[in-house]
């Protein structure tokens, strides 16, 4: 019983890591722009595909060992995914913002962008699944009856590291201060000489790059890619961000792990049929008690 609980805690940590990594992107963009970037789940999907193409390119063109390919795929995948995220901002969100459109229209545009990414992928690459190459040898460690792989450990550490980096950027750097300032007052901040567009682009770069990292890690852990893989996990990560208190980095991080734990532990102790029902009822209860989310504070500066 104890072994089974420990095993499930490790499962939950891995699963929660993905929610956390994606939720961080939602929360960053929301914190700065008050925009729920519903295309974020699909940027995660694009990240997984970019990682796939980068990795297969290096594998077929060079004779580099797997770990080296992985070392090259991580930064390249993150940069390329960031480019996709920034392009979305340039093509879809910025023109609307310039025209002073209401936030609601931008959110709906984001939904459409997500669909464009999904169906664009389907049209370009076809419906066939892609199988992500195994870049590093999987090692299964067994302690008693508890098992974990090196990949699981890497995923969990990456989530922790990402959180630490983002927390540092937002609270300790100048550009982080600018992000928080825009979140506080979008109209006064440009008057102080802060380039608002640059800061917004930077926000999208951060959010999308970490979605790209999540995509790569996800593809390594669940090596089957399909064009709709980002939709469900994107929604759930969004819910995680809301439960944590959207706009708050700690909230997104904590909310992601919370959702991971609730989902896995529900299956561990109830019939697995009830997974989503019970998991989301619990989240609903949390929101009923604290509508702004666990770390959210009503109507104050977030991020």
């Amino acid at each position: 019983m104890l072994a089974s609980i420990l095993q499930n805690i490790i499962n939950a940590l891995q699963w929660g890591s993905f929610y956390s990594l994606i939720a961080l992107g939602y929360t960053l963009v929301y914190g700065v722009l008050l925009l729920i970037n519903f295309a974020h789940g699909d940027i995660f999907m694009v990240g997984a595909y970019i990682a796939f193409f980068v990795a297969t390119f290096f594998l077929s063109m060079t004779t580099l060992p797997g770990w080296m390919v992985l070392a090259l795929t991580i930064p390249l995948g993150m940069i390329l995914t960031a480019l996709v995220g920034v392009s979305l901002e340039r093509i879809a969100y910025r023109p609307l913002r310039r025209k002073g459109a209401h936030r609601l229209y931008v959110v709906i545009t984001a939904l459409m962008c997500g669909l464009v990414l999904e169906n664009g992928n389907l049209a370009l690459l076809g419906a066939s699944r892609k199988s992500f190459p195994e870049l590093i040898d999987k090692v299964v460690y067994t302690v008693g009856t508890v098992t974990m792989t090196n990949l699981k450990v890497a995923v969990i550490l990456s989530a922790l590291l990402t959180f630490a980096i983002l927390q540092f950027i937002v609270t300790k750097t100048k550009i982080g201060m600018a992000m928080r300032a825009i979140s506080y007052d979008k109209f006064a901040v440009p008057l102080m000489g802060i380039p608002i567009d640059t800061v917004i682009v930077f926000t999208f770069v951060l959010g999308s790059a970490f979605a790209g990292l999540a995509g790569l890690l996800f593809a390594l852990s669940y090596p089957i890619l399909d064009p709709y893989m980002g939709a469900m996990i994107g929604w759930k990560a969004f819910i995680a961000a809301v439960v944590g208190g959207i706009g708050d980095i700690r909230g997104a991080f904590f909310g992601g792990f919370l959702l991971g734990f609730v989902e896995i532990l529900v299956v561990a102790f109830f019939p697995s049929t009830y997974r989503d029902l019970i998991a989301f009822s619990i989240l609903l209860v949390i929101l009923c008690i604290k509508p702004t989310g666990l770390f959210g504070v009503a109507k104050t500066t977030k991020i």
Partner: protein, 388 residues
């Protein structure tokens, strides 16, 4: 003698071509198949098999019904592997495209609801691959070319008991998939009947689009079953098997016919080697007409066809045979559909490339299943044949 034959054939040719030029006739058949969504390879193989058959028959001048040749026209419609889309595709084929009959859907998840739509609209439907009994149950207009899960479930149970000496089993199935859920329940009932209540030590499910099965697998592995039964689609199988190995599972898996897809090995790789599953035919080591089909398909499309391609070939042939049995085709589509249904119901036996099928009153074939092993080269190797 020769002259007479020659003259007669010329006469016939002119007569036939005269009729043809008067009214270029064609037979339109709809295909309700998943070209996108969860199992796109299933739709692709179905479509390719249909194309191959159509080209062969049209190259020979068309299908002869009552002395007249008809060109075949196949309409391929994508049901996105979704239950609701399968219904709207069926209605589109029936109403807009005015097809004579429908081949598909393949997966029971789509075949069960689409069967209702076809039955309500009095259009004959034949599913190549659906194994859930509900697809044809009490539906006089719906037929199929595959064996049923109440047969397949016990085949899997018997094989596992014999091969692995299994006394206990665990099941992991997809809750929102009629095929997976139905087969899992049938298997559970049969296994517990043979090994006593409680011998299925874990009976776990997962939802649509789930990618992480670690919690369910942890539960399953903790229950220490002799093997894990996976009646799941090939894309999910690849994830489940890998994750089970990550959690330290080293025991065997037993699969069902939804494993049999040419994409299984590209997705699953080494993890699936050495596993067994029950299916409709084994491509490796096939003979006769089956081998001919496999060779032709492989040459044309570049990969070995899985069971769904062979079953589509058989299902379409059964349909074409029934059309020929009708004797003649009138101009009234409704009446043609009605006559075709009667002709289909009267097909008592059919020799297909997936074996000989005898049809029962429900429109279900009684045919043999095979168990194949995924060998070290990733080929599906014939292990055992089980007949009812």
């Amino acid at each position: 003698m020769l002259v007479v034959v020659f003259a007669a054939s010329v006469l016939c040719l002119t007569a036939c071509s005269k009729k043809d030029s008067a009214a270029p006739k064609e037979i339109k058949i709809g295909f309700n198949i998943p070209l996108t969504g969860d199992i796109p390879k299933v739709g692709e193989e179905s479509k390719f098999a249909g194309e191959m058959l159509k080209e062969a028959i049209n190259a020979a001048g068309g299908l002869e019904v009552g002395g007249q040749k008809y060109k075949l026209n196949f309409v391929y419609a994508d049901n996105e592997s979704k239950a609701e889309s399968a219904v709207s595709v069926a209605l589109k084929l029936i109403e807009k495209d005015q097809v004579l009959a429908i081949v598909g859907p393949n997966s029971s998840k789509q075949a069960v609801p689409a069967g209702q739509a076809c039955d309500d609209n009095r259009t004959p439907m034949i599913s190549p691959w659906s194994t859930n009994p509900d697809a044809t149950l009490n539906r006089p207009w719906v037929f199929r070319a595959a064996f049923l899960d109440p047969f397949q479930g016990p085949v899997a149970a018997d094989f596992a008991m014999e091969q692995f000496g299994a006394k206990t089993a665990a099941v992991l199935f997809a809750l929102a998939n009629d095929y997976s859920k139905g087969l899992a329940e049938i298997f559970q009932a049969d296994f517990e009947k043979k090994n006593g209540p409680g011998s299925v030590v874990a009976f776990e499910s997962y939802g649509d689009k789930d990618q992480d099965f670690s919690a369910q697998l942890t539960k399953i592995i903790a229950a220490k079953p002799d093997f894990i039964f996976l009646p799941n689609n090939y894309n999910e199988v690849a994830l489940i098997v890998k994750q089970a190995h990550d959690l330290g599972w080293t025991g065997p898996f037993m699969g069902a016919d939804a494993w049999g897809n040419s994409e299984l090995m590209t997705l699953c790789g080494d993890d699936c080697k050495g596993q067994y599953f029950s299916t409709h035919y084994a491509a490796a080591g096939a003979t006769g007409a089956t081998k001919e089909f496999i060779d032709k398909y492989t040459a044309k499309y570049g990969y070995e066809p899985a069971d769904v391609a062979a079953l589509t070939w058989d299902a379409t042939n059964i349909l074409l045979k029934a059309i020929q049995d009708m004797g003649s085709l009138g101009n009234d589509l409704k009446e043609n559909r009605k006559n075709l249904r009667d002709a289909l119901a009267n097909v008592a036996e059919f020799h297909g490339i997936t074996g000989t099928m005898k049809f029962d009153a429900q429109g279900d074939p009684i045919k043999c299943a095979v168990v194949v092993k995924i060998n070290d080269n990733g080929k599906f190797e014939f292990t055992k044949s089980v007949c009812p």
